[in-house]
Every structure is written in C-alpha cells, then in structure tokens.
Symmetry: C2
Subunit: 372 residues, 2 copies
Amino acid sequence: MSTTLGTVRARYELWGNPASARARAEALAVEQSHEFPPELAPAAAAPSRGVVADLEVRGPELAAATVDYPAELAGGEIGQFLVFLFGNCALLPGVRLVGLEVPDALATALGGGPKLGVAGLRRVLHAPTRPLLATALKPVGLGPADFAELAYRLALGGVDVIKDDQGLGNQPWAPFAERVPLVAEAVARANRETGGRSLYLPSFNPPVDEIEPRLRLALDAGAGGFLVVPGTGGPDLVRYLAAHTPDDAVLLSHPAFLGGFTVSPTSGIAPEILFGPIQRLLGADAVIFPSYGGRFTFSEEQCRGIAAGCHEPFAGLAPALPTPGGGMTVERVPELVEFYGRDVLLLIGGALHRGGDPRRAAERFRAAAEAL
Amino acid sequence: MSTTLGTVRARYELWGNPASARARAEALAVEQSHEFPPELAPAAAAPSRGVVADLEVRGPELAAATVDYPAELAGGEIGQFLVFLFGNCALLPGVRLVGLEVPDALATALGGGPKLGVAGLRRVLHAPTRPLLATALKPVGLGPADFAELAYRLALGGVDVIKDDQGLGNQPWAPFAERVPLVAEAVARANRETGGRSLYLPSFNPPVDEIEPRLRLALDAGAGGFLVVPGTGGPDLVRYLAAHTPDDAVLLSHPAFLGGFTVSPTSGIAPEILFGPIQRLLGADAVIFPSYGGRFTFSEEQCRGIAAGCHEPFAGLAPALPTPGGGMTVERVPELVEFYGRDVLLLIGGALHRGGDPRRAAERFRAAAEAL
C-alpha cells in the first residue's frame, strides 16, 4: 500500500555523547514504527517505517534528529498518533520531542482540530478584541449551592469563562449531577441580569461509561462547553467532545498529569509542542498552562513558545487561545497582556478570592482587561 | 460531609534545598487538593484538603514528604484519583511520587483491580507453575493474512500470549476489523491442532466512539483479552475493559507514552509505583515494562522494585504478572526467571524472528521455560 497522507516530521533532541547520535537516531526511527530488527523486516513493510531525515550535532552533549513517519501510521486516530510520535521513546532518557510537522490531511483525519479556535471563541463570547477572562470554581469540598452562588457572583462581575477546578469530579460533596445544573443555572441567571455572555465549563474527566450520560446532562443543563484533562481523561476525549457537542461549545484543556512530560529539560516533550500543536490536534479551543511568574517554573521564553505554538500556522488548524494560569493576579493583567498579546484567555483562580466579594474582584479583573 | 473511605497516603521526594522542604510540602498538599489559598478556604471544605503527615530530610538535596488525602477526593473514579495523586504537581520539577497506600474500600470503588491476576491468568492458560510466555505481532505494515500466519506459527510453537504490537491500530495496511478476526481464527486453529491454550490479545487503543464496536468485534472473533496502552487510550480504559469483558479475558498493559513519567530521577513517578500499584488499580492482569539488559535503561534494582510492586499486597487487590520486555532473548530465559521468579510473563518480540521459522523459535522459547 502506498502512503498518500504525507509525512509526519518529528524533531527530537538526543542528549548525551553525540558520537552515538547516528545509531540512536536510527534506532529511534525503528523503535517508534516497526520496533523490529530492520534486517529481518519484510520488504512489504518498508513503507510503514520511520526514517532519519536529518541529524545535526548541536553541542558536546546534544544532537538533533529529524525523523519522518508516514502519516498512515496514525490510522487516523489520536491514540495511535501519540504511540508513534512519542510512545516507546518516552521511556528513553535523553530523548526530547522539540518539533512537529503534520500534513493537513492527517490533521483533518485526526478530527480537524479546534472547532471554534480564537475567532470562534470571541464570537461566542461577544468579545471581538479585548483580552478574555477565566476563573475557576474551588475549593473541592464545597457543596453545589456554594459553587452556584460563587459562579453567580463571578458572572455578575463579568468573567467570560467560569470553569470548574480540575479537582472537581463526582465527589460526594458536590456530585456532578447536582453541581452542574445548579451552577449552569446560576450563570444563566447572572447573564439575564447583566446582559452578559459568561459561560460555565464543567470539569469533564469521567469514567468511560459516564462519558455519554454526563455529556448529555451538562449540555441539557446549559453548560457552555467543558474543561478537559487529557492526561487523565485520555487524549482522544477532547476530539470526541468536539465531535459530539454543539458548534458553540468551548473546549478548554488542562495540563494536569500530562504536563509532567515537560519538566525535565532532557527528556519528555517541549512545552511549546505539548501545549501548542498537540493540544490543537486534540481539538482544544484554549489551552491552560502554568505561566512564568506564578507557582510553577516555566520561563518567559517557554511561555512565549507556548503562545506561539497556540497561534502560529500548524497543519491547517485553527489557532487556540493560550490560557496562562497557575498563580496569576489582577495586578498583573497589564503585564500579562503586554507579554501574551490581546489574544489570550487570562486565568485567575484563587487570587480572585482575596479581599472580599468575588463579584467585586471579578469586576476589577474585567476593568483591568478593558482598560488596555 | 465526613470521610468514610479512609486515607490515601502518598510519599513524594522533594529534590532541592531541604530548607524549603516544609513550605514545599505544605504547598504540595494544597496544590493537589484545594488549589486555593488555605487562609481563604471556607471551614466547610476542610475535610477535603490534603495534609502533610510527615516530612523527613534525607540528604543535602533531598527531602521526603508524606501527604494524606481523604479517599473521597477520587469520587470513586480513576481519572480524578490521578488528578489529586499527581495532577498539577507533575508540572513541578523536583517532585517525584515514590510511595502509595490506598485503602481497600477506595481500590474497590475504583474498579477492584485485576479480575484475573496471577492465579486467574495461570488458570486461563492451564499453566499452574511454569514461567509464562508472550510475544508480539509486528512490524506494522504487514497485511492481516501475514499477521494471521505469523500468529498461527507462534501459537503452534507454544507461546501463551500472542499480542498485537502496540504500534498496530487501525492502519490501512491491516485494519482492526480485518486483522483481528483473521488472527484470532489462526490462533484458535493452532490450539485445535496442538491442544494448546494460546491467547490472542489485540491492541486496543481506539477513539472513544470506537470503544464499543471494536470491543464487540474482538470478543465475537475470539480474542482472549486485550493489550491496552493507558498512556494514550486513557487510564480508565483498562478498568472499563475489566468491567465489560468476560471473566476469562486477559488485560495486559503497555508502558508506551505513560512510561515517560519514569525517566527523570528527580521528577515524575517511580517505576515501581507506576508499573506496580497504579497498573493494578487500573485493572491490569499483567504489566509490560522494559527490563534491565535490553534496549531501555531501567536498572536491576528498579526492575526488582517493579516486580515487587506487581506481586506484593496492595489495597486488597490481586497481584499482576510482571512482564519484562524491550529487547529480551530466548538465551536469557534462565537468567530472567532466576531474577524475576517463575511468576512472570516473559515477553520476547523481535528476537523471536531471528534465525528462521517463528514456530521453531517459539518452540525453543517454550522449551527454555519448561526446562527450568
């Protein structure tokens, strides 16, 4: 069978003595595709093998290998795409995925990426140009009515996207089926009173059996989309939600668990790839990541790279909205917008609860964004 | 609401100057549960917060923090369990999960673990005491008939578990719906001829929409269980399969992608936790991991730890069978059994194709295991 979808090109850093880089690169291309001794592989299987397209020594401890894979290796599925892109080699120290090119035809076959993207999100929120605002309902342990009241006040204050904390699931304190309708109704009530367009995104991290029932329940209740945790809910869940929700449903991805691939500088996946192109391939309209200057440790350069990975042309997909969070404050809004630009979804969680009424804090948040 | 399921106890290594370890441990306990400023958290939410139970300085760059979480934080779901166990802190360099205790009641609520475990697997395979044998169908790129012929010969040779390579999905060269029935029939034919009990485990890594159709198709075709890749298919998929397959269906987990958490020594999840207790919580009967002395880099000590994590009492769950692979050979069978013991599933893939007819190689593999 010939390959007609084109080529996926991956760039891996290989950390360690470059003397072995050629052999490591060749082994990597085999490991990620055939995983079979090349000299024994039947000729008929040749078109399905990864090949080293380029190898470059970058320093005394670093080489960069470019590996080309036939796009058919994905079989049109996100799970299998991740298997050949970074499946077995995730287990190899010193191998880091730092670059990715995907043919448009494969991106379409994998689901077509963000349904709304930046332009769609702005249309749904009736906010054509200003920075967009998000916050989280927490802490876990409160009851459904507490969350509804909190969401009501935050919506009155003008926050665009009010999402569940990723820590909210189906715990006994606020079961999904009780919490989601109450909160959705509270946000709708605030919108009726203000004429605003705040959206409520429940956290969606269910067991497989609960995907359909919870999806129906949340949409029937008026949820504006979902917060998804691809690291724990499964990467394909984002695509599934994009395919099975109304056109105006917003999908926001959360980095919990999966983000662990980014912390070692010499292995895993570079954050600008994981939180940019990969999340867009999954279908996320907006991508949460921990910004510089908060509780986490990404540098300004990494955050700039993530934002670029969300915005820049990739595989014919719509851009996604970078959503910096992880310890942001209202005081930093001007600086963050200066840094990320106006096409950003600013996520402020716990800090919005400092200093009294969340409605007032939300109003200050909104005013800070509108003043720019 | 009081907590009645008990306490999940997690032990994290904190790498870096121990002078800040107390503050980091306290912040970690909050990050993984409330993710909310403690001084602002309503008193009603107190029972849902993680607490630091112990902190110990281990060296000039290492401390160990024990954090207790109320088991209710999982809401009885694997996705949410992983969110509080290692969700946000996966993004923190220098935090490594190295210990885990789970109350029996929570393990039951999460699905009850391996349905077969070691004893059940031996019963299904009619192999009460000898080391068990596995191999993989590859390389991707062959057609369904090629795989069926290969599986037939490997089954004739007496390999117990014949699994798809994790690289096989629904690619055009051998689509799932064509490959799986042909291979299952070939293995059944070999069993009829030999009186053996070889099982075929298709790789199961589908999009969400395809879970049910492919599960039905494979079971109807006579698959003996599934190879699952929780890193790309989603961790809950293993539990789902355990709940929706016959009692004698074998679930074998593959480390692709997810295994990337183990490669940095100062972050991520220790392999003896990820490939032991966590896979058992998901419901895996056997757990593939890259053994020492192959193409990957785990040490003997790490492999001993993984085997112990599969076998030792944990949360009232059945043990799982450690399945060392990643470059093993028939010649090493005596050494591997000496090292891992007889309760092991030995996985030899590509090397079984060196030196001619796979049936003869499989016979040598079986003879090596029976000679012990």
